[in-house]
C-alpha cells in the first residue's frame, strides 16, 4: 500500500484556499447581494397559491417558500438540470416541471429557518439582474433565458475555481435532482421498481384504512 506521503497533491492555490477557509468572504458577499436585492424590490415573498401563468395548472399547491421569481428561475433551470429525463411531450413536460418545483418548495419548508435564509440569498443573487449577469453570467432575464443559457451557467458554476459557486451549483442541482427522481412517477427512469410489492401488500400501513 502506498504511504500517504507518496501521494502527490495538486499545487496549492493559496488565494483560493484562504478565501474558502475564512468562509467570511462568502457570507459577506452573499449577505450584500441579498440586501441589494431586497432594496431593489426583488419579489422574495412566497408565491402562495399561484393562479396565473402558463405553467400553473390548477394543482392547488400553495407555495410557502419559493417566490414567483424563484419559480421562473426554476422553470428556466430545470430543463438544463434534468436534461433527457424530461419528456418532450409539452403538456406532460410542463406538469413534470411544475410538480418538481412544488416538490422543491415542500422540501425547503422543512429545511428550517437558517438554511432557508441561505437559499434566499442564493435565489436573490440569481434573480437580481446585476448579480445574475456578473456572477452567474446570464445576461437575459430567466424568463427569456434559453436552455443553452441555463446549461452554460450550470457548467460555469460546476467547474468554477470558486468554492462558493460550486456550492451554489450543488445546491441547485441536488435539490432539483432529488426532488425529481424521488417522485414515484419518475422511479422507472432509474430502473428502481419501488418497494417490493409483496411487502407493500403485507404491511398494515399500506392498507387503505391505515
Amino acid at each position: 500500500m502506498p504511504t500517504p506521503t507518496a501521494v502527490t497533491d495538486k499545487a496549492p492555490d493559496y488565494g483560493r484556499r484562504s478565501f474558502l477557509k475564512t468562509g467570511l468572504g462568502g457570507a459577506l458577499f452573499l449577505g450584500g447581494v441579498s440586501m441589494t436585492a431586497g432594496l431593489s424590490g426583488c419579489a422574495s415573498a412566497p408565491a402562495g397559491l399561484q393562479s396565473e401563468g402558463p405553467a400553473s395548472p390548477t394543482s392547488g399547491y400553495e407555495f410557502r417558500f419559493l417566490s414567483s421569481d424563484d419559480i421562473v428561475l426554476f422553470e428556466a433551470l430545470i430543463p438544463a438540470i434534468l436534461g433527457a429525463a424530461l419528456t418532450e411531450q409539452p403538456d406532460l413536460r410542463r406538469r413534470q416541471v411544475r410538480t418538481t418545483i412544488e416538490t422543491i418548495d415542500a422540501g425547503i419548508v422543512q429545511f428550517g429557518n437558517a438554511n432557508q435564509q441561505e437559499l434566499r440569498k442564493l435565489f436573490d443573487l440569481l434573480n437580481f439582474g446585476l448579480t445574475r449577469a456578473t456572477l452567474a453570467g446570464v445576461w437575459s432575464s430567466w424568463e427569456n433565458a434559453s436552455t443553452d443559457d441555463a446549461r452554460s451557467f450550470l457548467e460555469r458554476w460546476e467547474t468554477s475555481s470558486i468554492g462558493l459557486f460550486n456550492n451554489g451549483y450543488i445546491a441547485l442541482t441536488k435539490i432539483t435532482n432529488a426532488s425529481y427522481y424521488g417522485q414515484p412517477e419518475h422511479w422507472s427512469q432509474t430502473g428502481y421498481p419501488g418497494p417490493p410489492e409483496w411487502a407493500v401488500s403485507a404491511l398494515p400501513q399500506f392498507q387503505t384504512h391505515s
Partner: protein
C-alpha cells in the same frame, strides 16, 4: 408477520405522551429527571432511570413517527425524519450532515450497524484522556447488556449484492472483511432502514428503550424544543422549552418550563453543545462545542456487469477494517470500509452532475454499486475536529476544517475503494467527486485518483456520525464531562450521547452511545435514589 407496533399499542394503552403542538397555554412541569433527546442516549437513559422508579420526562424536538408513517418513501422520510429536512451541512457547505430528528433520533433512520467501541479507541481514551475506567475489559459487561437489549447479532442472511461486492473485492485483494452485527429482530431484509423501519424489526430507541421508559411511567413530550437550562446559583433549576407547531418548524407562542432534580442532555453532538452554549453553562476552559468529529465520509460508485439492486436488502452487512487501525491508532488517518444503499432520490443527490449525463448515470441504478469510507478523525494532532457555535437564531452550526492529514486519508480511501470495486469485477468506477470521470480499469483509476484535487466542494463529503463537542475526560481543562458523563462544573447536569466522545469511534457509533449511556445512567440512578 411484522413485529407489533409498540408505539401504537402504548398510545392506545394510555402512555403519557404529549404532542407539544397541541398545547394551548404555558405549562410548568416537574420531574425527578428531565432527559433532553430521545435517541440512542436519551432513550437508554430514560428507560434505566424510569425502571428504578424515578419520575422522568423525555423531551424531543422532532415529532413522533412510527410504523403507520414508515412507507418506504424517500421524499417524505427525508423531509420529516432528518435534521433540517436532510439539508444540514457544515458552515461552509462542504460536508452534508445526515442526522435524525424524530423520536428515536438517528436510531430511527440509521442502517442498523452495531459495533462495540474498538479496543484501540477505548485504550486511546484511557491513555490520553485519563479514562481508565473505560478500558475494554471494564466495559465488556455493558456491551453484553446492550447487545441483548437491542438484539444485536451478526447478520445471518447472505449479504445483498451491493455488500457482497465489498466482500468479493476484499477476498480478491486479501483484505480482511467481516459480517456486520445489526440491531434487528425478525428483519424482512427490505432495505429501507434509512426511511424508518416499516416492519418494526429495527431495535432502535423507538422500539426498545423509549417504549420501555413509557411503560415505566415516564412522560414523553415531542415537538418541544429545549431552549435553555436556567441556573440558580450553582445548579440548574429548570429547563425552558418552546413547543413547535405540527409542521415541526414553526415555534408556537407558548412556553414550557420543567423543573427537575437532575438534567440529562442527550441532544446529539450538534444539539447538546448548542444547548449548553445557549444556557451559558459554566465553561471555564472554553471546551463546549470543541473537538467535534464526523467520521468524514467519501464514496465511489461502480458500474457492475450484473444487477446489484442497491436499493433492496439490508443496507449494510459487510465491512472491512483492513485500513482502520493498521497504521496505529494515532498514525495516518485510518478508515473503515462499508457500503451505502442507493435509492433514486439519494443517489441523484450524491452523484455530482446534471442533465443528460446524470440521467444516463441514474438509468444504470440497478447496476450501480457504491462504497464508502468512514475516516477515523480525532486521534492525531492534525485532526483537531470542528467547532459547534450558535447561529443568530440559536441553532447550531459546525465549522469543520478538513486538514491535509484528513485529505491524505480521504485520498487513500478513494484508492482502496476503487481498487476493491475493480477487483470485484466493476466495468467502470467513478469517485463522488466533481472532477472525476468514469475510469475503465484500476491503473487508469489509480493514476487519476493520485492526481485529483483534494479540496472542499470538489470532493463530495458526508457525515452520518456526529461525535464530540462535550468531550469526556479526567481533566476539566480539556473536557466538559467526566468518565460518567457528569458535567465538571454543574453537579445536576449530565451528558449522555455521542457528544461526550473525546475522539471519533472508528466504527458506526450507536452501540457506543447505548453502552456508555447504560453504564452512566445506572450510576446516575443509584446516586439519585440513594
Amino acid at each position: 408477520m411484522a413485529m407489533t407496533d409498540l408505539i401504537a399499542q402504548g398510545l392506545a394503552g394510555g402512555w403519557n405522551v404529549t404532542d407539544a403542538a397541541t398545547l394551548t397555554e404555558n405549562q410548568t412541569l416537574e420531574a425527578d429527571v428531565v432527559v433532553i433527546g430521545t435517541g440512542a442516549g436519551g432513550g437508554t437513559t430514560a428507560e434505566i432511570l424510569a425502571r428504578t422508579g424515578l419520575s422522568v420526562i423525555m423531551i424531543e424536538e422532532g415529532r413522533l413517527y412510527h410504523q403507520k408513517d414508515f412507507k418506504m418513501d424517500e421524499l417524505t422520510s427525508y423531509a420529516s425524519l432528518y435534521q433540517e429536512g436532510l439539508s444540514r451541512v457544515t458552515r461552509d457547505g462542504a460536508i452534508a450532515i445526515l442526522q435524525g430528528r424524530c423520536v428515536g433520533g438517528s436510531t430511527t433512520v440509521n442502517w442498523t450497524s452495531s459495533f462495540n467501541t474498538p479496543d484501540a479507541t477505548l485504550n486511546f481514551w484511557a491513555d490520553r484522556f485519563g479514562l481508565d475506567e473505560l478500558r475494554p475489559a471494564s466495559l465488556q459487561p455493558w456491551f453484553d447488556d446492550r447487545k441483548q437489549r437491542h438484539n444485536i447479532a451478526p447478520w445471518e442472511v447472505p449479504p445483498n449484492a451491493n455488500n457482497d461486492t465489498l466482500r468479493r473485492g476484499c477476498e480478491q485483494l486479501g483484505w480482511s472483511w467481516h459480517v456486520i452485527p445489526r440491531n434487528v429482530k425478525g428483519c424482512w431484509n427490505l432495505g429501507y432502514c434509512g426511511m424508518g423501519c416499516p416492519t418494526n424489526a429495527k431495535q432502535g430507541a423507538l422500539t426498545t428503550t423509549v417504549p420501555g421508559a413509557l411503560d415505566h411511567k415516564a412522560e414523553l413530550i415531542y415537538g418541544l424544543r429545549a431552549d435553555r437550562l436556567v441556573m440558580t446559583q450553582d445548579r440548574i433549576s429548570h429547563l425552558e422549552a418552546t413547543p413547535l407547531q405540527a409542521d415541526s418548524v414553526t415555534p408556537s407562542a407558548h412556553k414550557v418550563q420543567i423543573r427537575a432534580r437532575h438534567f440529562v442532555v442527550a441532544a446529539s453532538a450538534l444539539g447538546s453543545p448548542a444547548l449548553l452554549l445557549r444556557s451559558d453553562i459554566p465553561d471555564p476552559y472554553q471546551r463546549v462545542g470543541k473537538r467535534t468529529f464526523l467520521h468524514p465520509v467519501n464514496a465511489t460508485v461502480a458500474e457492475m456487469p450484473e444487477r446489484v439492486d442497491p436499493f433492496h436488502g439490508a443496507p449494510q452487512s459487510i465491512y472491512s477494517d483492513e485500513f482502520n487501525f493498521s497504521q496505529g491508532v494515532d498514525g495516518p488517518a485510518g478508515f473503515k470500509l462499508e457500503v451505502p444503499p442507493l435509492h433514486p432520490s439519494m443517489a441523484s443527490g450524491i452523484l455530482p452532475g446534471h442533465g443528460d449525463i446524470m440521467n444516463e448515470n441514474l438509468g444504470k441504478l440497478p447496476w450501480l454499486q457504491s462504497m464508502l469510507a468512514l475516516i477515523r478523525d480525532g486521534f492525531h494532532a492534525d485532526s483537531p475536529g470542528g467547532v459547534v457555535s450558535l447561529r443568530d437564531d440559536g441553532s447550531p452550526v459546525l465549522d469543520y476544517p478538513v486538514t491535509d492529514y484528513l485529505w491524505q486519508g480521504l485520498r487513500q480511501a478513494y484508492l482502496r475503494m476503487a481498487e476493491a470495486q475493480f477487483a470485484a469485477g466493476a466495468k467502470q468506477v467513478r469517485l463522488v467527486h466533481m472532477d472525476s470521470s468514469w475510469y475503465r480499469n484500476w491503473s487508469e483509476a489509480e493514476a487519476a485518483i493520485k492526481a485529483i484535487p483534494m479540496e472542499l466542494h470538489r470532493a463530495r463529503l458526508f457525515t452520518a456520525h456526529q461525535m464530540g463537542g462535550c468531550g469526556m475526560g479526567a481533566n476539566p481543562r480539556n473536557s466538559v464531562v467526566n468518565g460518567l458523563g457528569q458535567h465538571h462544573q454543574v453537579s445536576n447536569l449530565s451528558v449522555h450521547d455521542a457528544s461526550i466522545f473525546p475522539t471519533s469511534i472508528g466504527a458506526n457509533p450507536q452501540m457506543s452511545v447505548y453502552t456508555l449511556s447504560a453504564r452512566n445512567s445506572t450510576q446516575l440512578a443509584s446516586r439519585l435514589t440513594a
